[in-house]
């Protein structure tokens, strides 16, 4: 059994790291944005160091949120469309191991993204945080992306790869912008700020933004993210069960 789990995790990892889109969407794009909004566009922040750390968290959460929704979701659709999921059902591999392999692969990928983007922040702007701030914000991002992984499995119930890729891209971008990952919340009109505070993306980002200021993520953040996690898991399980009936 141990061997199966190891093999499954290894296979998932290989597939993720051999995917060229991953390198672009999850690593290069957030780092380019980071460079642009901290070095080229002058935002005149009150506290330059804080802004650079804040925006580093924005871009890391942006990256991890994207791979949770898109990489996972599109991959699940691909596996079904190409008949691979059907094949897996006739093998003795327990569904749980398959799922675990996927989540393990995603988590290692996220950890890798976090390390690379944090390093880029340090190299580009010399962002300096305490060791515990680096570690805690990294952990927050690693664990806090769970609702987006669940959203990814929801995207995974779509019938066509093109639909899944289009829809997940749109959701991703809307969540990123409205969740204040690209522009800070203060720059939003009041009404919009209220909407943002209820979005999973804002709460995901805010946990990390709090941590780099030496605060703990607020209970609001944790509760709202947990709520979305439960909602997406239930919805995705329900749709999957409905699709399975033949």
């Amino acid at each position: 059994m141990m061997n199966v789990i190891t093999m499954q995790c290894k296979a998932e990892l290989r597939r993720i790291f051999r995917n060229p889109y991953y390198v672009f969407w999850s690593l290069i794009l957030p780092i380019i944005f980071y460079y642009i909004f901290t070095r080229i566009v002058n935002t005149n922040p009150d506290d330059k160091g804080l802004w650079q750390a804040h925006y580093l968290m924005s871009m890391t959460t942006f990256s991890v949120m994207g791979s949770s929704i898109m990489t996972l979701g599109i991959r699940i659709v691909q596996e079904r469309v190409h008949g691979w999921s059907t094949y897996m059902r006739i093998t003795p591999l327990p569904e749980g191991v398959y799922f675990f392999g996927k989540m393990f692969g995603q988590s290692v990928m996220h950890l890798f993204s976090i390390i690379i983007i944090f390093t880029a922040g340090y190299l580009i702007n010399g962002v300096s945080l305490t060791a515990s701030q680096w570690i805690l914000s990294g952990l927050w991002i690693l664990i806090g992306c769970a609702p987006f992984l669940a959203l990814g499995t929801l995207v995974g119930t779509m019938k066509k790869v093109d639909t899944a890729s289009g829809v997940s891209n749109a959701i991703y971008m809307v969540l990123a912008v409205l969740g204040a990952m690209w522009f800070p919340l203060d720059s939003f009109p009041k009404g919009l700020q209220l909407v943002s505070k209820w979005l999973p993306s804002y709460n995901f980002g805010n946990g990390a933004w709090e941590l780099i200021q030496g605060n703990a993520p607020s209970w609001d953040n944790i509760l709202i993210l947990s709520g979305y996690l439960v909602f997406f898991v239930v919805l995705s399980t329900y749709i999957r069960k409905k699709q399975e009936v033949v």
Partner: protein, 306 residues
Amino acid sequence: MDTIVEMKNITKQFKNKKAVDNISFSIDKGSIVAILGPNGAGKTTVISMLLGLIKPTQGTVQVMGKDPRDIEVRQRIGAMLQEVSVMDALKVHELINLIRSYYPRPLDIDQLIPLTGLQKEDLNRYANKLSGGQKRRLGFALALAGNPDLIFLDEPTVGLDVTARRVFWEQVRSLTQQGKTILFTTHYLPEAEDYADRVILFDQGVIIADGTPDDIKSKLTVSSISFKSDDPDLCSFLLTLPNVHDVYEKEGRIYTVTEDTDGILASIFEHKLAVRDIRVEHGRLDDAFEQLTTHPEMDTKGAAIS
């Protein structure tokens, strides 16, 4: 002999089509059985039910005495499905070893590779970059990876050329010598004839014939005597003769369908029937198969669920 597969009174109703209609059959351990039929006959539906991928609307399916979805069954079967494209971004040897790890007693990789006809250099290529024929070979390798006792092959040779087909079936034959049971579907008659011990002929969701290839052949092959005649009572007389299955008129000739052409000829001369221009015709097996399974009224597009 031990029964390894059993289907009892199975019906499968899809939304707008009855794919399989109250069929029953069982398969003995160690045999190689062909499910033969045209597209839309219900072959893939039958295989999918045996694999536990879809549930029958009515009836019971048992594989090795258990529900096909039982983990113990899964550990002892292998299957090559239609249109399985393989996981992307994995190399052939990585994929084979991954699948092998799922099974308690996998086939040794050095034994597995020669069986599939994959070349050494193919093993290091990405699985999704293989050609169509090589993908089928990989599909076969994956079906055998767990060293299964029962192997399902759904249209296994589609897209293979004649030589590749022959090599493929030689490998399958060698598997039956190890006591494995093989169930394959095909719409290609000679394949069923040449390689199966038993042929189950499907058409429109029902079994229309079941037996050894020779049985099927004699059942399918039709001989007839045809001639011209002006005698209006001839047809009814011919039908009274022994071994006559059918009499019909086509393009001005009267056809008498029988397996005993010599006997009928003797009767014709004995009774001095007013016939001329006699011809004896032995229907070819291919034609008979086609005739048996072609339904001009059937919309071929409706046959998508095969």
